[in-house]
Structure formats: structure tokens, C-alpha cells
Amino acid sequence: MVKMMMMAMMVGVAMGNIVDKTCKQTPDYTLCLSLLRSDPRSSSADTVGLALILVDKIKALGAETLGQINEAYKTKPMLKKPLDECSLRYKTIVDVDVHTAIIAVKGNPKFAEGAVVDAGVEASICDGGFTKGQSPLTSLTQRMEKICDVTRAIIRMLL
């Protein structure tokens, strides 16, 4: 019984170590850890699994941002033009980039890398459309860029 518990603990530690080892090879160790550890699947995931968890985070953040964009139309109607551009860009992230990343990560990871890099670019372009200080989305887009950087680093481990 004790032996089993110890083995389970060791396996748990080893699994945790994979997350740790993987995150150490990304540009933002702390962010990587917090993203992965917040998902219970990470304790038994391989690199592909970890990448998919992060792509899920990209999708969720993208959806959240689209919600914020919709809110902003009501509260800041004078920003309609840049908000329209953001809407287009974020729809690309959620509908196109995420989908491509998911199917490619399992078979041909370089296309997943391209999709994730693109997601970061779309976020950046969206925020860049506002004059300085006017964007209601800056912290969300910055977060997206950071998550994309970390995700990209993990996908590159699959190449």
C-alpha cells in the first residue's frame, strides 16, 4: 500500500517535472507554469497534450476578448472602426488559427507553429489599430501575444 502510494507520488513528481522542464524552454516560464498547472490534464500530458492545452487557452482568451469587443461597441461607439478590425482579427484567431493549430499539432506541427504565430500577430494588429491610450483591449492583446509565444516554443519542440 505504502509502496503504491510512493510510486504514485514519484509518477506525479515525474509528470510535474515534464511540465517544469517544458516550461523552462519557453520565453515565459512563470506564465507557462500557471497556464498548464491550471489544467488538470497537464499532469499526464505529453508535449502534444501540453501544446493542445495552451491552444485551448488561446481559444478561451480569444473568445473572452471578442466578448470585450462587443461590450466596447456599446460603451465606446466612437471606436467602431478599430473595433471592427479587432473583431475580424480575433475571429480569425478563434475560428481559423485555433482550428489549424489543433489539427496540425498532431500531424505536421510546423503548420501549427504558423497558426499560433499568426494568432499573436492578429492580436497585435488589433491593438495597433487604436491611437495610443485609446485601446480597451491592450492587456488582453498583450496576454494573447505572450501565450502565443509560449505555445509556439512548445510546438517547436515537436518539429
Binding site: P27, L88, H99, T100, K106, G128, T131, R152
Partner: protein, 663 residues
């Protein structure tokens, strides 16, 4: 105008660099200067870059002797900031990197349909819509050139991959045919991926291709035409015994793809090679077969190179040491060298090396191991956007022809909006450079000349620091062939003067600041897809400088950094050294076709393919310029510019078929 630009306040240049910001995968996050959001640390960084910049500019001014009064050159100082930013970035990490460009104050660029529809090419192969990637199974059969390709029938991004198909009489005028193979078996349900054709001595065709199985394992499958008497090869049959090859022991299920055309061994068997990797060592596995259904794996590898990562789309073929014709894939002998080429998954570069093949054990060794396949120093077919290339032996005209996937350099949002993504390069003949003996030479197939309409010949002496408009009318579909000569006096001044420092080895297209950075003997060339005011332009040029051996070195570049004001496109500066032998004039050929520019230096010794997305240098506003940005040298340019017709690539129809069969 130019001299005063040089003294613009540093802060202006800091805020508005036109060169892209680099996003490095493993970089210290504090280093990332990502456009609008700057943390306090970056202020320090900006200041130190600014100091570096001042230092560089002082050096530049100090080496110039002040005779710049006739300076009407394309003089932009903004791009030089990028030199400092890009310093220290290795070639490898730049591959495929998104570099977000543009300054913080311009609004996000909104593409309209007029700009987007202009981007479609007129004479490069592309499907009517949606995504394309690798060329597959090119071959010539019963009077028709066949081209297959990785295709997504459902979207303008990668996915749901099947084999698209098209035919042509001349490699230029194509007719789209129905999809040749779909993902309808368990062994290719996750993708009908890349493969190659082998034509057997009796003229029949076997096709080997990679399938991604329902469990995403990469396997090799056999297919053949359902009706060999159909010259259009419309229908294909998959061998019921597929897969014929599965990943062998020691090879991971996702590292086993892109089988080559087979060649005959001296034992009379067929041999193929398939790229893979062992940890970070790129390798190519070798299999022998007599029937394409059962295989024996050789214990030896065709070749291996450490630290190159996964080898995709391996290609292996003979080239003649003496003749300019192509060779059938099975040819061997003392007058023959063999080329090993691979597409590097890590960097998205295609590399090749020249070497010797040993048929007895299926191995190959490079002539020069310091530039072995996949090393950052090794040769590339093309120094721009060019990947997953594949050759075939065209038995119709006795030549080896090279196809390549040219992807987009824009955002996926734009691809989805315009409804398509990717083109193929113009097919090129490939031969060994018999003059140098150690590199290949490529040239657009001669059939492309059939697209040439009217032309104009020019002979122009271009003084240092000038830009000359070239009046050719419409400038989005052009074929330019040019010869350049630098005035002897300037050359002697540089070569004869021992105190002139050798700078050629430090120069790189990517890192040396682009076409606006002036040297004694260059840059000079053409600016294509340029607006009247040069607010958008794509220079293709030579940069000549003194090398460490006191001989001249010539570098050939395409600078896309100002090709568009849009900030959601990638705008690198591409290029490489180009060998120039004694007595040779400097020559270049440029094919301009809307959003693609293919440049060939010294008859195809160095080639550069670029994708560009101008927002205003489109339709009637696109112009052509000749420029000489050298500080001292006068350049004489002798060139001809042809208007290029469309290739009218369209879907199969009775008329289209009849029209093609008449040619």
C-alpha cells in the same frame, strides 16, 4: 534631400522604424520590442540602440568624401535602426518568423477587395481558391505535363489535405482537373500527403505517397492510374495492400514522410529514400523494392547531418558534370554527380549539396562537408520564400525540372478574406554549374517566353545616387533581363587601393540594412512594384564589395522591407553571395507577377523568390525604376523589359481542352 535626411533627429528614427520587429522564440522577453507596448527596460535598450545607431552613422559619414550633391537616390535613413535590432539574430531563428512591422501610429491596415484581388498571380500556378502547399508527383505522360499538389478543398488554410491535379502541354498553361486522391482510407484519413511518381521502363506510372493514418501515424502508400490509356490520368487507384511501408523500429510515427521517385540500382532493384530524424539529426532512410509493394530497408542511411532536425521532402537525383541536359533519376557513372536535397522542418529552408553516390550500399557523401545538407552554410535553391521543392525528370525535353511551394507572407485573416493561399514557383530547369562545378544553376523553363508580349530595350548609364523611372506602361506582369557594368575607374579605385577595407564578408542581405545603405560599388538594380513617389517599392539588386582576398565579391538581394506600408505582412530582406567569374558581366532576370517576384542572379546561380503585398503600388500605379545607390560608381545597365501575358489557368472545359491540344 538625401544629406539632410541623414541628420534627422534620432528619436524620429527610433519611433518609426520601417524595418520589422523580430519575435524570437527563445529570446529574453524583455528584449522583445513589440511595437506599442514598451516597458521601462526598453527605454534603456532604445537609448543604447540609438547610441549604436549614431556611432554607425558617424562611421558612414566619415568614410564618404562629400561628393553627394547629385544625390537623388532612394534615401531612407529609417531602415538603418533595424541593423542594431537585428544584430545577433541568427539566420536559423529568423526562419518563418513573423516580424511585425510598421510604426505605432499608423492604424492597422485594412485590406479592401481591390487590393486583395490584385494579389492573385497571372502566370504562376495556383488553384482557383483555397490553400495549397507541397508540389506532388510531377510527371510527363502521353503528351501532358501533370502536376499534383497538397490542397485543402475547404479553406484558405492548411487542413483536410487531398491531392489537387492539373495538366499542361507546356508547364505554363494549365487546366485544373478534379481532385486526384481524397482521404478515404484509414491509412490516409488524416491526410493524403506528399509523394512522388516513378515512371517504369514500360511507361507505366507508380505513385508513392505518405498517408497520415486515422491514428496520425505516417505511412507510405502505393497508388497508380486507374486507366493508363487516359492521358489526363483523371482517376487513381490505391493499392489494396496499403500501407506498403510503416515507420521502422527506432523511427517515430511522425517522422516518416515524403517518399522520393525511385531509381534503378545496379542489381536491377528500385530504390527510394525517405527523410526522417533521430533526435536532432536529419537522416534519409533507404529502401529497395522490385514491385513497389514489398520493401527491404537498408541498414545504411543515404546520409545524415547532425543538428539539422527533421528532413522533409527529400529529393535525390543525378546531374551531369559536363552537359546541360537533365538526367533520368536512374543514371549513374563517372560523368555524374548526385544531389541530395532536403526541406528543413526547423527553418523552412530548402538546402542541397553536391556529392558522390555509392550504389553498392546506397550511401552518399558531400563533396564539401563544411556545407553539408541542412547546415546554415549549405547551399539553397532559393534564398527567399521557397519550400518543399521537388524535381522530376522530363523525358519529353530531356531536362530536370524543379517545382516549389511559395507560401504567403501575409496574415491568415487576409488569406481568409481573399479566399486563397500560396502559389507555385515558375518551374525551373536545374543543372550543375559546369563553370564552378560546385553549385546548381536554375532557370525558368523556356516555355515561359511564350508569355512575352511587347518589349522595350534600354541602355542607361546610372550615376551614383540616382533613381531612373523606366517607362514600360503596366508594371505588374514583367520579365526583365538585364546586364550591368560598373565603371572601370571605380573598380580600380577599390581594388587597387590597399587601404580600402574588405567589407564583403560582413555584408548580408538580411542584416546590412537593405537597399538604402550605400557602399562604394552598390547597391544597384531595379525597384519593382514601386509607386511614383517610391512610398512602396521592392528593390532587387547587386551589392559589390571588396573581399578579404582583395577580390570583388557580389551579393544579390531582394529587399521587401518597403514593399508595402501594411504592417501585417512579413517583409524580410533576402539574398546571398552570387559567384561571378572573371570576364562575366553582372546579369539578373526578374519575373514580376503581382504578389510574387522571382529574381535570378548570374543566370540562376543565386535565386530569390519573394511575396509582396503593396497597398498602392498596384494596378496602374505600379511602376518600374532603375537605381544606383552606390557612393562612387557609375553603373551602365543594358536591359530589356517584356510585358507578360496571363497564362489563363482555368478549370477543365471542352474548349480549354481543345485549345490546349491544338498547341
Amino acid at each position: 534631400m538625401a544629406s539632410s535626411d541623414a541628420l534627422l533627429p534620432i528619436s524620429a528614427r527610433e519611433e518609426e522604424p520601417l524595418c520589422p520587429y523580430t519575435r524570437l522564440p527563445m529570446a529574453d522577453p524583455n528584449q522583445e520590442t513589440h511595437g506599442r507596448r514598451r516597458r521601462p527596460f526598453k527605454g534603456l535598450l532604445a537609448v543604447s540602440f540609438g547610441l549604436l545607431f549614431i556611432a554607425f552613422y558617424v562611421a558612414l559619414i566619415a568614410t564618404h568624401d562629400g561628393s553627394r550633391s547629385n544625390d537623388a537616390g532612394i534615401h531612407e535613413t529609417k531602415t538603418t535602426t533595424s541593423r542594431a535590432r537585428l544584430a545577433g539574430v541568427s539566420e536559423k531563428s529568423n526562419a518563418g518568423l513573423w516580424k511585425l512591422s510598421g510604426d505605432r501610429n499608423t492604424p492597422a491596415f485594412e485590406w479592401n477587395n481591390s487590393m486583395l484581388s490584385w494579389q492573385r498571380t497571372a502566370f504562376h500556378f495556383q488553384p482557383e481558391q483555397n490553400w495549397m502547399n507541397d508540389p506532388n508527383g510531377p510527371l510527363f505522360y502521353k503528351g501532358w505535363y501533370h502536376f499534383f499538389y497538397q490542397y485543402n478543398p475547404n479553406a484558405a488554410v492548411w487542413g483536410d489535405i487531398v491531392w489537387g491535379h492539373a495538366v499542361s502541354r507546356d508547364l505554363i498553361h494549365w487546366v485544373h482537373l478534379p481532385i486526384a486522391m481524397v482521404a478515404d482510407q484509414w491509412y490516409d484519413s488524416n491526410g493524403v500527403w506528399t509523394g512522388s511518381a516513378t515512371i517504369l521502363p514500360d511507361g507505366s506510372i507508380v505513385m508513392l505517397y505518405t498517408g497520415s493514418t486515422d491514428k496520425a501515424v505516417q505511412v507510405q502508400n502505393l497508388a497508380y492510374p486507374e486507366d493508363p490509356s487516359d492521358p489526363l490520368l483523371l482517376k487513381w487507384v490505391k493499392f489494396p495492400g496499403n500501407p506498403v511501408l510503416v515507420p521502422p523500429p527506432g523511427i517515430l510515427p511522425k517522422d516518416f514522410r515524403d517518399p522520393t521517385t525511385a531509381w534503378k540500382t545496379s542489381e536491377g532493384k528500385w530504390r527510394i529514400t525517405i527523410g526522417s530524424k533521430l533526435n536532432r539529426t536529419g537522416i534519409s532512410l533507404v529502401y529497395d523494392t522490385t514491385d513497389f509493394k514489398t520493401y527491404e530497408k537498408l541498414d545504411t542511411l543515404l546520409h545524415r547531418v547532425p543538428n539539422t532536425g527533421m528532413w522533409e521532402c527529400v529529393d535525390f537525383y543525378p546531374v551531369s558534370k559536363t552537359a546541360v541536359n537533365g538526367l533520368d533519376t536512374s543514371v549513374k557513372g563517372p560523368d555524374v554527380k548526385h544531389i541530395v536535397k532536403a526541406s528543413m522542418d526547423d527553418t523552412r529552408f530548402d538546402h542541397y549539396a553536391v556529392g558522390t553516390y555509392f550504389d553498392s550500399n546506397g550511401t552518399w557523401i558531400p563533396d564539401d562537408p563544411t556545407i553539408d545538407v541542412g547546415m546554415s552554410t549549405s547551399l539553397r535553391y532559393d534564398y527567399g520564400k521557397f519550400y518543399a521543392s521537388k524535381t522530376f525528370y522530363d523525358q519529353n525535353k530531356g531536362r530536370r525540372v524543379l517545382w516549389s511551394w511559395i507560401g504567403e507572407s501575409d496574415s491568415e485573416a487576409a488569406d481568409v478574406q481573399k479566399g486563397w493561399s500560396s502559389v507555385q514557383g515558375i518551374p525551373r530547369t536545374v543543372v550543375l554549374d559546369t563553370k564552378t562545378g560546385n553549385n546548381l544553376v536554375q532557370w525558368p523553363v523556356e516555355e515561359i517566353n511564350s508569355l512575352r508580349l511587347s518589349s522595350k530595350q534600354f541602355d542607361i548609364k546610372v550615376s551614383p545616387g540616382s533613381v531612373v523611372p523606366v517607362d514600360v506602361g503596366s508594371a505588374a506582369q514583367l520579365d526583365i533581363e538585364a546586364e550591368f557594368e560598373i565603371n572601370k575607374e571605380s573598380l580600380d579605385k577599390i581594388l587597387g587601393n590597399a587601404s580600402v577595407v574588405a567589407v564583403a564578408e560582413e555584408f548580408s542581405c538580411e542584416k546590412s540594412g537593405g537597399s538604402t545603405v550605400r557602399g562604394a560599388l552598390g547597391p544597384f538594380g531595379f525597384s519593382v512594384l514601386a509607386t511614383e513617389s517610391l512610398s512602396e517599392q521592392t528593390p532587387v539588386y547587386f551589392y559589390v564589395a571588396k573581399g578579404k582576398d582583395s577580390e570583388l565579391k557580389t551579393i544579390f538581394c531582394t529587399d521587401t522591407s518597403r514593399s508595402s506600408v501594411a504592417n501585417d505582412v512579413v517583409k524580410p530582406i533576402y539574398g546571398s553571395v552570387v559567384p561571378v567569374l572573371k570576364g562575366e558581366k553582372l546579369t539578373m532576370r526578374i519575373l514580376v507577377d503581382h504578389s510574387i517576384v522571382e529574381a535570378f542572379g548570374q543566370g540562376g546561380r543565386t535565386c530569390i523568390t519573394s511575396r509582396v503585398y503593396p497597398t498602392s503600388a498596384i494596378y496602374g500605379a505600379a511602376k518600374l525604376f532603375l537605381f544606383n545607390n552606390a557612393l562612387d560608381a557609375t553603373v551602365t545597365a543594358s536591359f530589356r523589359v517584356w510585358q507578360m501575358n496571363s497564362a489563363f489557368i482555368h478549370p477543365y472545359s471542352e474548349e480549354a481542352f481543345r485549345a490546349l491540344t491544338r498547341t
